[in-house]
Amino acid sequence: MEEKEKEKLSDIAKHVREIILTMIYEAQSGHPGGSLSVADIMTVLYFKQLQIDPKNPKWNERDRFVLSKGHACPAWYSCLQLRGFFDEKHIHTFRRMDSILQGHPDMNKTPGVDMTTGSLGMGAAAAVGMALEAKLEGSPRRVYTVVGDGELNEGVIWEVMQSSVKFKLDNFCMIVDRNGLQLDGPTNAVMPIHDLTQIIEGFGWYVQEIDGHSIQEIDKACSNAKQKKGIPSCIIANTVKGKGVSCMENQLKWHGRAPSTEEYNQAVREIRNGGCRCIH
């Protein structure tokens, strides 16, 4: 990837982060930690990798995307808005009555949302169905899903691990947002998984482990996945929960909590300047 493109995508990711915070701040409700950790991944998908048409959100040959960790939808909505799927004014209606931007993704309300999610585990399994359908139709379209590392606790995820291999879903790419935290604590404490890479490889997947905040690594891994024939791909993206806002980084309490006015202003300043430290 050229330096110029990398810079462009980094700038977009900053913008995505700012919109995430604005939505959660204005709604005074939502999940900043997991939205910020997935922001770079979503940016690369929506501004580089996905074959989509904002003017025609239901274009049949589009790539499909399912945010299985649906609570991080502010990141999804930000990308969709910046890509032009809907007007900016909706950003300010997040989680409000009559909004097209529900507290968790709703495929019938939000243009560009391909699957309703919010109950962890289910989105990834639905994505398998989308990949099967693409195969059935002989379509080259691809299916991407992002799951949380806590979400991996759900049994249905391991059903996905099996079926995707059985049906040779090389059009399917699962990205794990491995930020090391879930709701009640560190993933290692709540439900430890030893050597995730080896385990998923053991199921028969093509696994790549990357820095989930490196625009280049995310892009490269998605491209590699496309080349792999006959087996599904998993990208284990090592991320930081709350990435980009220092006082939210790696802090459990920012899983599902809205910032105060002061915290919001400070966070936005930090994102814009790219690095000033929080006072507390």
Binding site: A27, S29, G70, R95, R96, M97, D98, S99, Q102, G103, H104, D106, T116, T117, G118, S119, L120, G121, G150, E151, N153, E154, G155, Q182, L183, D184, G185, V190, M191, G256
Partner: protein, 318 residues
């Protein structure tokens, strides 16, 4: 009669506090949680009694089956999660591995009804009464405030077999004093009236009381009953009240279909109480995200809706 003070904590927290307190009184029971202990409040118990607290991760189905295994030897197990996940994803485990063998598993299902309004449909347990109460051997209760949550904890742990307590996300009002007793199959008349009976439970108790107050200002005396014991149900109280008022209005923060109102209607017809009857709840629809009170208004489940519907009923008799 009752007092109405702003509640300091939601029933999910009050229940969690009692769970923790009781942990010291009874050293035998254990608690299973699915990674939302900080939200359901089960963590209060977990911090105090780590050896008796099993955080099974985000795995509601497996957790519930594990609870069945733990309870198979006769031990009492509490299972904590959001009502939506217990009453849907874990439903088969509850049915086949807990209710069928009649095991001592108690469920704390938080975010009942539209009290999770802001999170949206995926987190709103609006079919839990239907799914859970349909199961043989299961009992169900819904506290509306701190003292009822505490007392219904005690009732659950002292009642043999599966027991589901529907808890609420947000803090509303305090109604009951510490001395009020709660029993299996019991209910409380919160306001006496001769013109119409309003039967309800949970957060709808407050909406009903607000409506009853406004109705009284218009000369309509509604009797408001908190049917906190959904199953078994206090039919004796219901009958005594409708024999006085001749009219029954049931409101619930749940799907209308297969909710408590369906159960009551079946009872009334079967036992030939041909009275004026109206039942409101979610009208065969999913709701949406939004602020609790706004969403109740939009889906015609708030105090104003009750007031309007009751007036219509009274008018048809004039």
């Amino acid at each position: 009669m009752y007092t109405l003070e702003k509640a300091k904590e939601p029933t999910r927290k009050a229940f969690g506090i009692r769970l923790k307190e009781y942990g010291a009184i009874d050293s035998d029971f254990v608690v299973f949680e699915a990674d939302i202990g900080a939200s359901t409040s089960s963590i209060l118990f977990g911090n105090e009694f780590p050896k008796r607290y099993f955080n099974m991760g985000i795995a509601e189905l497996g957790m519930t089956d594990a609870a069945a295994g733990m309870a198979a030897g006769g031990r009492t197990v509490f299972v904590s999660s959001y009502g939506i996940f217990l009453s849907t994803r874990a439903l088969e485990a509850i049915r086949t591995c807990i209710c069928y063998p009649n095991l001592n598993v108690k469920f704390m299902g938080s975010h009942g009804g539209l009290t999770a309004a802001i999170d949206g449909v995926t987190h709103q347990a609006t079919e839990d009464i239907a799914n859970i109460c349909t199961l043989p051997n299961m009992k169900m209760a819904v506290p509306c405030d701190t003292n009822s949550a505490r007392k219904l904890f005690d009732l659950a742990i002292h009642t043999a077999g599966p027991f589901y307590v529907r808890l609420l996300r947000d803090a509303y009002y305090e109604i009951y004093d510490e001395g009020t007793e709660f029993s299996l199959g019991g209910s409380h008349v919160l306001r006496e009236g001769k013109d119409i009976t309003i039967g309800t439970y949970g957060d709808m108790v407050f909406q009903a009381l607000a409506a009853a107050k406004r109705l009284a200002e218009q000369g309509i005396e509604a009797e408001v009953i908190d049917f906190y014991s959904i199953k078994p149900f206090d039919y004796a109280r219901l009958v005594a009240s409708i024999q006085k008022t001749g009219k029954l209005f049931v409101i619930e923060n749940h799907q209308r279909r297969n909710g408590l109102g369906y159960e009551i209607a079946d009872y009334l017809i079967t036992n030939r109480y041909y009275i004026l009857y109206k039942h409101i709840g979610l009208a065969d629809t999913f709701a949406e995200s939004g602020r609790y009170q706004e969403i109740l208004g939009k889906y015609h489940l708030d105090g104003s809706a009750i007031e309007e519907e009751v007036k219509k009923m009274i008018d048809t008799c004039r």
